[in-house]
Assembly symmetry: D3
Homo-oligomer: 315 residues x 6
């Protein structure tokens, strides 16, 4: 019996015991009438199909995405590995496990990243923009540190939003100097920091920070609208000028770049144009990073859904 | 000298005196150094090119879209009529003229139309939706009665928004019965009534109610966003339920039907789908009405910009 | 043994006997060389996978979509229900069953619906349009009462065309009053009534009225062309004026609204524009009705093929 | 005074007398109240702006596109040549002039071209297709010999349809051999010969064969539909088989290749696919011929409207 | 035991021995731990799923697409035939088999086709174009005779490029006469002959000439670019004029017709326009030939990937 | 008489003498037969319509875009200024004038910019990439310093390519650190430096460095192809590895990002994806800079052709 072996390291035939997440739980019945559970075993390193044969509870579909103490064997079905669970119970408050080992997370240290975000915010010259950003950060601090930036396309892991936002702020900082003639650094940095805060309400999360779905407001209103609206209210509370309030909302509403990509309006000032390009660039680079990690040097990946094409990892 | 003859009735050679609107005023100088004004003479029946030769004020470009007392002669230049102004002064507070004869207006009686709008609103079963609509109406009553529904494409005349909204409410009332299985009448009527209130902030108007331009917030935020945002704030003040507040915003944000037509999100419930179709239908029918009015039976119009095609007026 | 239990009510383990339709019949052989039939069991309430093991006739693939007297057991395979047929024979002329219980039908009473269609036709002021419509109705009466409006997207059930046409005529009646300034009610109602008659030749039907495929003329010529052509011939027989004959054909040829949606020409008069919008509206509303019927309040449907998106059923 | 000098050879300052066509006649008045006519002087070699100063008839706008005996002087206005007419009268029945010198015509000998068309038709193996084509030819012989193939894009000159059809038949003849495995030569040749016969009703022509406009049926029904319909009626009169009648109509209805280019249905058999390609090819090659004729070797033409691009004439 | 029976003729239950190709070899393990091979058995007449149970070598995935001597039985699994291999070894140098019976080939005699290509090349009047073509032919002779024209869409068989090129040259020869006014025959024939030579480097081939994948340069540079570049180098070596060198490259770079179809530039001279149409035509006709071969007369094919639609085989 | 007054500072009525560029020269004749020249007077600050009345040489259309010594008066015609030239002669070799005052130039110091480019090139770690870049720089040094980056859309002034390339290299340098996980800095910098070298052959320039047109190879082959080809040849001469040679060509061929924007292939590795985004970003930012320079704070520009929209200059 091996303890807490990571899913990426499991081999057919091993007996395993440890803490894992069980997601996509579905309760079924075999042709012969025997109840069983079909699910996905998950930790930070990967996923594997899982079965609990002859099982009628107490674990049910409601327990999807929770941490469990599991014992079982790595088997194989139709050429793909399958984990056959022999013993299972929900992890209790007393159990010791590291959430970061159970769900995939951004490759950064949260506190360092947060400190850098705070430092850049503090460097915003315009007091109105700076205060609003700092207030938004404190109001949403927990979510900002934890949520992914998307459900599946890119940065779809714990702290993905933090990673995406910080990278974009670094780029915005540099580019506002390169294009200092047309770019108001304060406006660009504020818009960059704020642009994706609406994602908190757009996605439904489990207690572990896993995104299980998009929410009804997320689909019916969109994260651009929800973010712009909250920023507008806060701006009024803080007495920000009309012009700056309008510009901040415009940056948020237009950051998808084109109407057909979901922008509520298209970018019409230099800062919104540049923000939409930085967002595109950071998303694309992260998709490349995630895709090339699974590709051999000198060969092509499979077709990537987000990019709409296969990509080459050179030697 | 003929008094107050309408522009549609003017003939070359006539001497004319009366109240008209002068718009698009531009102060220029001839090659020989003589100052003159080039402008458009306008009343409810049409427009005509106009000139004031050898003129250096006091009328300036700032006076565009104001009512003036004008005397002059209908002349012709390069085959098109041109009004040569001989005497001009701004209308004063004491002057008597009927604004409806000077700017084009919707073919309806404002008070009757308003009464019908109020009557339909009163028939909304759901109290939360009804109260919000009634509050919005009183808050924006003046603008709702006067503003056009667009700068140029359709309903681009005084009270155009009132006419467009009332026609759509009549259609929504009927169609909510025809499709009663899937349509919540209260929601559809509320969304229909509210959908274009953002146009008030989207357009810049002269004191006569003429649209001179789109405003900066109109272009940078869009009327869908501004309307949804105000409705959301009012709904919260009135304690409307989360679900209904979300649905109303969704109807407003999606009423352009497709992302590429400027919808912030696409319609995703039966009422928003139907609202976007009613809006399309009423706009199209009004464009036909305006276009066919200038077309001979049995012939085609010129290419219409809003429809992207020429249309046929049958016999 | 339960008699004539509806498919929607069947549970695993039940023994069932009754009249059902068997469609998509395919004759196969197991690895061990034993012949069997794979098919779909159908009635008005739904469908279920079906098998006849060890069976070599007399039922063959030619008997697809016919009524049969069937005995068998509701079983399960791979988590989905499967009906195992033990005894089967074609229904004979003497058998008593109600076709409406065996194939899905529109939620209306055919005779009432027909009466309303006739009444609206009788109200068409223009005698030439009215006579032509009435002649088309009598000529195609059987098909008009029975055929679906489509193979799968919407109104894909018995009397679907009748339901679609009647609903559109009701809307056309109302809207021709709302837009009386630009709409010739007689032309709009005639075009609305006639627009989909070409579907009779476009689809291949079984004797039960089930659409099994599109016909060769349906694909190579299209229902718009076939309908316009027949209307043109009938109009000439009846001595209709050239202008009206042209307009009727135009309404039929353009009712898909845009070239890329299959319109032979785009709408170029007010009545054809409005007809194309009414057709779009009625199709969309019916897709919503069919989709939302399978969706829980407060949740989203799966992605609908006809709409190209998931839709929300509000509470 | 020079007699009958061609427009392409006129120089500023020349006195000219002869037969010409006057088109786009518009009766106007100068600012000083003097009546004059503005028009275009035309013959087979080109066009020139023309004026008749101080003229009040009897020539009016109704006489556009007629042959006239004209005397005048080649002048210049704003850097472009302008023909000032001093004397003008309608040509009478007794006048001698050659229509081919007055309107642009296809570079072919009509009788030879017609003979070749007849010869290819006679070589169609299938008697049903052959007879129908021959009957259509005799029925429309006059128009087939004279009309252009379009109003402006390509082959927009006398006998343009004859030239376009003959060239396509030559190509169809060759290609039906190259692709004999999939192409039925009789069907392809019949469809090629017939495909544009609807253009006769689609365009409004002057007595000289000049296209002055598209007709109402041309715009509201389209030439594809009108041609397919007539072919269908004739095929039924002649007792053609259902399959062949359907195929001929399909070739005609689909020859624009794609829905967005105006095809009523898209090509779905090898012959309709090939016909749409031959039509595209012959139109494109003729546009090149017309465009390159006005382009110097080694340089680019201006942007051509039909091709949507400038083209290069190599050395 | 039947010898060398063709795959298209195999029936369930037969014992077979002979030379075949094994492709898509994948080494797997059953749930019970037993190693096996899953692959596709192939010859010129078709393909069949194949298994080697309880097999651990020496054949491995590296041996995909090689010729093997195979003994086994035609079985069935899930209603589709499956070949169970009992004995297998790689064909040796001494074995006698005909490659043409093992891989699908173009329906032509290679030497005759090559002779015709050479003859047309010899007829090119322009010596510079002719010499370059002849040099390219000799340099790439082996590949030109053997490679397919594509991996899957059309002409995806041995000598497919030879067949595609020859057919296009025949068409180009004829059409350069039909459009002699605008087409330089030498340029068109040279461009037609050369246009697809880049496919040799674009595709990865097995020793049997089967295309197993696109190459990295094929995807990252494209066959248009690689071909134009080589032609440019050879043209310079041979001292071809600047203008002709440019034109040849232009024809190659633009032969996909439109940017969105992969043309590096769009056709801008008559010869490149015509070449792109001929290429489209020959590809389409071959897709029809391959599709209709599997379709019954009077019925429709399944949806074809290359055409984006189903096609009709008439009677 | 004022000496060398800049065009941006000229006022109607001034007598002026100095060195200017005369472009778009056209020789014409007035109605009364008098020869004159119509042209555009230009210097680094702007342009103005110009006329030389009663002039028959020696200046002709061939002298367009040359420097001339000009005397004349600033007049006005139809409300726009017009320069009436009274005396004119070509500047001779002895004349003293500063080219930078006569043609618009990038706002940078050429030698400093070149030094920075050289410095970044020297920092490329990979010796193969670095040597190739340095060789290209020396080979094209004169053109690289002087030519614009486009004819009209952006950077359409002297040294525009230098400015565009340097800005992009600065961005590439920073971003290769931000995305160091997926970006090979050497490859990205080399591709960025090289990507637009093909513009030298794409554009036709006057001796002053003004772009007068696109060249025939520029239109028929495109600058992407010409650049990739030259880089490929040089790489082979220098013995660069196959993989790196392929990657460099790929970056150049794909830098327009999408096929429909003129990319010969779409980006398929992280560096080409990023290069296409940097190119887009720098072009857009420069268009904003050029557009906003002519726009008042708090207002919108006119519609910009390159962006396809109007843009807002905030306060």
């Amino acid at each position: 019996m091996e303890q807490d072996i990571r899913i990426a390291d499991m081999n057919v035939g091993q007996q395993v015991q440890g803490f894992y997440v069980l997601k996509d739980i579905r309760c079924k019945t075999t042709t012969s009438g025997s109840p069983f559970i079909s699910a996905r075993l998950m930790d930070a390193t990967g996923e594997m199909e899982a079965k609990i044969w002859n099982y009628s509870g107490p674990i049910t579909e409601e327990d999807s995405c929770k941490v469990m103490l599991i014992r079982g064997e790595v088997s194989e079905y139709n050429g793909t590995p399958q984990f056959v669970i022999q013993k299972i119970c929900l992890a209790s408050a007393d159990d010791h496990y590291d959430v970061k080992e159970l769900v995939p997370s951004a490759p950064l240290e949260e506190n360092e990243a947060l400190a850098e975000v705070r430092e850049i915010l503090a460097s915003i010259d315009d007091g109105e923009y700076r205060r609003l950003c700092q207030a938004m950060l404190e109001r949403h601090l927990d979510a900002f540190l934890m949520i992914p930036a998307a459900k599946s396309v890119h940065h779809a892991f714990r702290s993905g939003l933090l990673m995406h936002t910080l990278n974009m702020m670094r780029a915005a900082d540099f580019l506002s100097q390169l294009y200092f003639e047309v770019i108001d650094r304060s406006l660009l940095l504020a818009g960059t920091f704020l642009h994706d805060f609406g994602k908190e309400r757009e996605m439904v999360r489990s207690e572990l920070g896993l995104v299980t779905d998009y929410s009804a407001p997320g689909k019916l209103l969109g994260h651009l609208y929800m973010c712009a609206q909250e920023v507008c209210e806060l701006a009024r509370e803080q007495g920000m000028s009309e012009e700056k309030t309008m510009l901040l909302q415009h940056l948020i509403l237009s950051h998808h770049g084109k109407l057909e990509f979901g922008a509520a309006v298209e970018p019409q000032c230099a800062e919104s144009e540049l923000l939409s390009i930085i967002d595109l660039m950071d998303s694309r680079m992260e998709i490349y990073a995630e895709t090339l990690a699974d590709t051999q040097p000198g060969s092509f990946s499979g077709k990537n859904f987000g990019l709409g094409k296969a990509v080459y990892r050179h030697t």
